[in-house]
Amino acid sequence: MKKILELKSLTAGYDEKIVLKGVNLVVKENDFLGIIGPNGGGKTTLLKVILGTIKPVEGEILPDGNDRCIIGYLPQINQIDNKFPIPVKEVVLSGLMSHKKIFGRYNSENKRRADELMTQMGIIHLKNKNIGELSGGQLQRVFLCRAIIADPQLLILDEPDTYVDSNFEGELYEILHHLNSHMAIIVVSHDVGTICSHVKSIACVNETLCYHDSNVISQEQLMAYNCPIDLITHGEVPHRVLKHHK
């Protein structure tokens, strides 16, 4: 399979604080990669480096600069100002910014494509509504439309399953499986249980990145990479967590 993105011994961080060290990662077309790891472990920093909003301190990302593939991005929903005066259809169109020069106009073909996507996601009836009138699940669909309208080769989702009910979560992963046939997908999540049952491979990020080419994580792996997560089981297992004995 064709490589679409490669990180080589990458170090990244902010000002004097290094958050990630020695990260190596290859993303191929049709990959479906889940990224897990503790808070402050560097998941968001890794995404920012891949998205190009922060520059790596050391190492390189291939392909470079303008040859970089088109990346669709779904940010964390709580970073959005949902009182902003903008209707749904405009939010979807804003996903085409990477295709437009600064004075570029948005033509009827662009608008038709936006309508088509909104119809697929079942939000066409909300087209003229302001984003403030939408529920969490509807808002996620709008941002998903925005993320894929430019036909990206790589789709990155930052915790798409927070602030939505489990009903939408199921639908979301169904949509992602469908999209995966023509684009690589990277999902960041702290809901390890859900992520493992949907993705093809997993990367654990905690100061560095450990790649597992399967969606099964063993307890040993988690211990070795010092990446504490919740219990993973198949099926329903009644359980109770007690305090440690002193």
Binding site: P87, E90, F103
Partner: protein, 278 residues
Amino acid sequence: MNELIELFQYNFFLNAVGAAILASISCGIIGSYIVARRIVFISGGITHASFGGIGLAWYLGLNPVFGAAVFGVLSALGIEWISKKTDVRQDSVIGILWAFGMALGILFIYMTPGYAPNLMSFLFGNILTVGVLDLYLLLGLCVFTIAVFFFLLRPILFVAFDEEFARTQKAPVQFLNYLLISLVALAIVLNIRVVGIILVISFLTIPQTIANMFTNDFKKMIFGSIAFGFLGSFIGLLVSYRINAPSGATIIFSFVILFVIAKLVQLVMISVRRKNLA
């Protein structure tokens, strides 16, 4: 009514109406941007920082509008630049700039020999003494602002809505932010002549807030703000002439009354809609 028609024969009154129209257009567009992007406090900081420029220009015997424009744009660019540094508390910096500009302005005016009769008109504005030069400057600003928003409306809107996403799409985020914050500064400085330093921020926020009650569409918000801005400033202008009070105060006063009326209309509309649903 006759008295009103008579008023239109006076040059000063025509100038004032022209200023009201131009101020409504420039403040309607820029104010919608300020309200949507939630940079009201930044705009307040720019307004007061520009008073330092007024004082310095006064001291050097230059045109105060020129001094205010230089200080306003420089402080606006400074704030935008500082907001990119993650380790700086932006609002504290704005607070310092706010007070420093005022202090500098007062110091320079105090050091200037002779009486400073126009100081009040900078603090509170006087639409009835607006001159031809002020009108040309405002007209130039309006033309430029309209052109920028006509050609760049979508990029401006998209970047203001979600800057982080725009950055991932390689949009010219920095260029747009610097351009827009400079426009904000120029709109503030040129409208100081009309409503004054202390009140200009309400010209940039009250008509927008009223328009925002009836629409959530940025474009309609701009047109609504221009309409409410003109209505309020025209009423304020008449009252200012009638009772010989500073125009800035009467204009803002009529804005607030419009705001209260609009709020009542909105409440009635909501209850009517509820009844229809029930």
